[in-house]
Amino acid sequence: MAAQDPDPTAEFRRNESWLFDTTAGAYVRKTAVALLTLVVFAFVLFPLYWMVVTAFKTTAEIQQIPPTVFPNDFSLEGFRLVVESSIQAGGYTSLFANLFGWQASSAIDIDILSLVLNSLKVAIGAGAIALVFGTAASYVLSRRDFAGKNALMSIFLASLMFPGTAIMVPEWELVSALGLFNTHLVLIFIYGAMTAPFVVWLMKGFFDDFPDSIIEASRIDQCSSIETFWYVIVPMARNSLIASFIFAFLLAWNELVFALTLLDNSRYTVPPGLLTFVQGFNTQWNVVAAASIIISLPVLLGLAYIQRYFVQGLTGGAIKG
């Protein structure tokens, strides 16, 4: 019998398969996973890639059929027009003419810098509002029991599921009653209100996990409640607070519909501002793309810097003692 069955490990190998238990099979699996990853990667990043190459093409090349995957004629025309338009619309034409003897003259009349500043103002304001109100609310929802608490939490969650445009009409009436048309303040309020529920949910998760004993330890360590809040809770909540702020900031930064309808073009934020570059059949797509890149860069860099806090905050990895 032993001679007929030379492999003593055969008993253990009954469930083996080629794909999962051989080296060749492992290579096949890894290759398949890698290819799939590449496809997903391309699917996600192609629009960004297309924006970048479009920015470096000439108008003629953009309209070429079939389109080129990489610009034949590397051109910075789009960027030049954006900068010139900004200088002109920002009223710096004479300054540049005096300093460099260079006369900016652009057919487009949009100041990118002011778009970014407007957006920053609105996004930071909305982030601050969402953070302050959302955190205060979440602290109470996490630490205190009261009637209707679960209903309140459900309403907060439900409000996140409504599309913002669904409440356009009542929002319009409210804005008009308050006389806040064409102000950045109204956008700050609206974006703050839209993102606060998310902040409530995120921060409630944080406070639910917050150990009471640490707060008690700080009381025993002779902290007043303000000192406990400032020296213990805030530093520990840092990552979650940053994540909440970024979430609110990004929503405000990207929101188009309210900004387009509530502001006129002198106060546009980035999304409606970019839209004004799109001018029907005359659209210079390289200019649109160049403007998009210039506008995205600062946010991109800022996010790259704080993204690790963002991830830690979202995954709740903040409290480890």
């Binding site: 008690e216 330890a217 009381r219 025993i220 360590d221 002779q222 409290i319 480890k320």
Partner: protein
């Protein structure tokens, strides 16, 4: 240095008039200057609530907590000048060990400069042998190191009181013993009045100057560890303190020529009057035998109750073994020294001396007869001297 008094303290969670839960019920405890009090009891007996009331983290529903005869009921935790070590250590995760240790000192209104605080931090760190860890965050520390930092944070302020809330519960068994000794040494060194909560009777026995045994929020007994062990106030204390658990049997006490006669299922024995501290009236009793008090018949002395046990299980613990078996009066657990020739199924003859028998009233469960304290010296040496016992025969 504080004389701590807990006077008639009751704590009710929820509405006292309706369905409030009584966590602590009319508790009286007195702790002298520099004494080490251990609050001992099963989960939910109110020991932690008591500690938190002493620390000011909970307010008593009624009664008074006094530090040096000053009522501190309405003094906030931050103003009581107490230090607390928490079960989960409760270190500030965002601070280094140095900052954790110095945090309380910096908050205090003591006129200490940053350099003073640092000096004190290093002093305490050296004392606890954590000086190399000063710049680490708590997440980088092992359980024992966190425990030391938590201790350091407590002693650095030289508070009126140390409060320990099951500080060793999250450590592994070996570390628990080391840290237990260290806490004991540390407390004797600094001489600060301490209250320590635990459900571990062994921990309580070794560390305490005074043990308060609690059950269902009520104080069962307050006494020195040997009192609690040898003269437990009632059946609950007797069963809670000591390991393995005390053997308890239903019995009846009858008058005898000298002393009393105790009838158990299948066996009976006499307790001479010189083994009794007070008169034991006839009637129903609970009879208690500590597993350590049994000896193999003939090995120690000749008198006392003797019976046969059919061994079910032998659990060797190094030089001794815990034997579980069936005796005439029911299940018997005994700790014996010479177990190497024995195995399950064998019959073992056990004896117990009259002065080691516990009797409790069957109705009130109050103590009728305890273990003789005068014989402590010989009692203590019993477990260790089992080998020499064998030689004597």
């Amino acid at each position: 240095m504080t004389h701590l008094t807990v006077d008639g303290v009751t704590k009710i969670f929820g509405d006292p008039d309706k369905d409030g839960v009584v966590a602590v019920d009319d508790l009286d405890i007195d702790v002298e200057d520099g004494e080490f009090l251990v609050l001992l009891g099963p989960s939910g007996c109110g020991k932690t609530t008591t500690l938190r009331m002493i620390g000011g983290l909970e307010t008593p529903t009624s009664g008074e907590i006094r530090f040096d005869d000053v009522v501190v009921n309405d003094i906030k935790a931050r103003n009581r000048d107490v230090a607390m070590v928490f079960q989960d250590f409760a270190l500030y995760p965002h601070m280094t060990v140095r900052e954790n240790l110095g945090f309380g000192l910096k908050r205090e209104d003591n006129g200490m400069s940053t350099a003073d605080v640092n000096e004190r931090v290093e002093e305490v760190a050296t004392m606890l042998e954590i000086e190399q860890l000063l710049n680490n965050k708590p997440a980088q520390l092992s359980g024992g190191q966190k425990q030391r930092v938590a201790l350091g944070r407590a002693i650095i302020r030289e508070p009126r009181l140390f409060l320990f809330d099951e500080p060793l519960a999250n450590l592994d068994a070996k570390l628990r013993k080391t840290m237990r000794t260290e806490i004991d040494e540390l407390q004797s060194e600094v001489g600060i009045t301490s209250a320590y909560v635990t459900h571990n009777q062994e921990e309580a026995m070794t560390i305490a100057d005074k043990i308060a045994v609690l059950n269902d929020g009520a104080l069962q007994q307050l006494g020195r560890p040997e009192e609690v062990f040898n003269e437990p106030a009632n059946l609950f204390v007797a069963q809670f303190v000591g390991s393995p658990d005390m053997n308890i049997y239903d019995g009846v006490v009858e008058e005898a020529a000298d002393g009393v006669r105790v009838e158990l299922d299948g066996v009976s024995f006499e307790l001479p009057s010189d083994a009794l501290d007070s008169e034991v009236p006839p009637g129903g009793v609970n009879v208690g035998f500590r597993p350590q008090d049994f000896y193999q018949t003939g090995k120690r002395r000749a008198d006392g109750l003797t019976f046969d046990v059919d061994i079910r299980v032998i659990e060797p613990v190094g030089t001794k073994a815990i034997v579980h078996g069936d005796g005439p009066m029911g299940d018997v657990t005994a700790e014996i020294g010479e177990f190497h020739g024995l195995s399950a199924g064998d019959t073992l003859s056990l004896s117990i001396a009259p002065e080691h028998v516990y009797l409790f009233d069957a109705e009130t469960e109050a103590l009728r007869k305890g273990r003789r304290i005068e014989n402590r010296a010989s009692v203590q040496s019993q477990s260790q001297s089992s080998e020499s016992d064998g030689v004597e025969i």
